[in-house]
């Protein structure tokens, strides 16, 4: 086929313009979805049982994953900083760098990514299946708002529980660093603990919590949104799950950068 050059010049800006405007519309849809879910959470009936179920599922069931990742990463971090530090004669910085690095970055990001893989995927798969099998329509015809019943509990619980999970992950990660440093690298335990604590500031702790809460909101919103958007068939469910994990992971890393800019600008 002969390509009409003139036509191509028209098509390029039109296509770009269309995808940009679709992207902006999609962001608007996600934000209004999130706001609707949050405001409706405050209006009775409250569906307390749904919140309890989500607490078990998001909070309790994520503990092993978060704990194990944090422990091994803390250990590896200590080893790395030690071996890098010997080149500069800065081995004594291991405790404080492990602690600060975990609180500010690794704790929330690791926890966010691990929970994104677990929770975002399972929320998306569950809601997409409900959509495809008309359970969401059934909720509506039974006089229940599906967003209030399904989305609000998931978003609220994940947003509250990710900071808690992250705090536990931080403690376990720092403990992993401590264990490797004292057992493998010959650090004095008392020295290690003292120098860990000496350089930690309050801002490190609350920034960790703020990041985790934002990531929790991203994870649950993406899971719910892509679940609700799912098209018919098993293919739709699979796509919803993948999209939820991919988009929540990317958004976590992107928001991590911007939050770091915002919280630690000096």
């Amino acid at each position: 086929m002969k390509i009409n050059k003139q036509k191509l010049y028209y098509l390029i800006p039109i296509t770009i313009g269309k995808s940009v405007s679709n992207f902006i519309i999609e962001i608007g849809t996600v934000v209004s979805f999130l706001l609707y879910a949050i405001f409706n959470a405050l209006i009775p009936p409250l569906y307390i049982n749904e919140y309890l179920k989500q607490i078990m599922r998001v909070g309790w069931a994520s503990l092993p994953v978060v704990g194990l990742t944090a422990f091994f990463t803390g250990g590896a971090l200590a080893l790395q900083i030690y071996s890098g530090g010997t080149r500069l004669n800065a081995e004594s910085a291991v405790p404080s760098i492990v602690a600060i690095g975990f609180l500010r970055e690794l704790g929330p990001v690791l926890c966010g990514l691990m929970v994104a893989g677990r929770v975002s995927a399972s929320i998306a798969a569950e809601i997409a299946t409900m959509k495809v099998t008309e359970q969401i329509d059934a909720l509506t015809t039974l006089g229940t708002d599906p967003i209030k019943y399904l989305v609000s509990p998931r978003i609220i619980v994940t947003t509250i529980f990710l900071p808690i999970l992250t705090t536990i992950g931080n403690i376990i990660g720092i403990f992993g660093g401590f264990l490797i440093s004292t057992e493998r690298l010959g650090f004095n335990p008392t020295f290690y603990i003292e120098s860990s604590i000496r350089y930690i500031e309050l801002s490190d702790i609350y920034s960790s919590l703020i990041k985790a809460a934002v990531f929790g909101m991203i994870i649950s919103t993406m899971g719910c949104y892509f679940g609700f958007k799912a098209s018919k068939g098993a293919l739709g469910v699979g796509k919803a799950t993948t999209d939820a994990v991919v988009f929540s992971s990317i958004l976590i890393l992107a928001f991590n950068y911007f939050l770091t800019e915002l919280l630690f600008r000096t």
Partner: protein, 248 residues
């Protein structure tokens, strides 16, 4: 139909249009359902029967007007309809995270007049009885039930709050002849005993003949034939005749 007494019309559909992107699915439908009457909707696959129900129930956008007891229903505000209707979905659509009694009692537990757990279980067992299932399955999960049992549980869930209008989307498709007969009889019982108005989508002319008063034959989103159920089998309408014959 009683045209002189508009108060008797429970559901009225006026100039209903529905399209997806550029494809027209429903094209200017006008339907009236009188109190206590049962209307069957037939037609080839993909003509928009399920979409018609979705429009009535406000589960999708549409153009046109739908009135319930003379009141115009808004797209997002259908509480009056939901409070007084029951819907049986094509696949049952039971909530798979809830067990049988939680499914059946969902409506009475999650609404303003919240029943206690004990009452809800009692009512659920009574409903199980009504759809001729044993009360002992009240704690089973939907995944542990056969397709026919799921349909019955879904029927129990749809009628738990004593609705005065019922919607059925292919209540017997995919079921064996015996279960089909049983479900048809349950529906007939419900409709006759409780004077419920109903709209039934079905591919099965025999079921329609048993259950319904009137029939609408839908093709390509238009009403191709509309009449009394007794006139259906003698109709000279070519498409309807072909459809009925192919079903035999």
């Amino acid at each position: 139909m009683n045209k002189n007494n508009p108060h008797e019309i429970v559901l009225e559909i006026k100039n209903l249009f529905k399209k997806f992107e550029n494809k027209i699915i429903l094209n200017d439908l006008n339907i009236k359902i009188s109190k206590g009457k049962s209307i069957g909707v037939m037609g080839p696959s993909g003509t928009g029967k399920s979409i018609l129900l979705k429009c009535i129930l406000g589960l999708t956008d549409y153009n046109g007007q739908i009135l319930y007891n003379g009141k115009l229903l808004e797209r997002k505000n259908r509480e009056i309809l939901y409070n007084n209707s029951g819907m049986l979905f094509q696949g049952g659509a039971l909530f798979d995270s809830l067990n049988v009694w939680q499914n059946i009692s969902f409506k009475i537990m999650n609404n303003s007049s919240a029943h206690s757990k004990k009452d809800s279980i009692l009512i659920a067992k009574k409903m199980l009885n009504e759809v001729e299932l044993g009360a002992e399955i009240f704690q089973n999960m939907p995944s542990e039930l056969s397709g026919g049992m799921q349909k019955r549980v879904a029927l129990a869930r749809a009628i738990v709050n004593k609705p005065n209008i019922l919607f059925f989307d292919e209540p017997t498709t995919g079921l064996d002849p015996l279960t089909t007969k049983a479900i048809n009889e349950l529906i007939i019982n419900l409709i006759n005993k409780k004077n419920v108005t109903s709209l039934i989508i079905s591919h099965d002319p025999l079921s329609i003949q048993k259950i319904c008063d009137e029939v609408i034959f839908l093709t390509d989103g238009k009403i191709e034939w509309h009449g009394n159920v007794k006139e259906m089998s003698n109709s000279k309408h070519k498409m309807l005749k072909d459809y009925l014959n192919s079903n035999k």
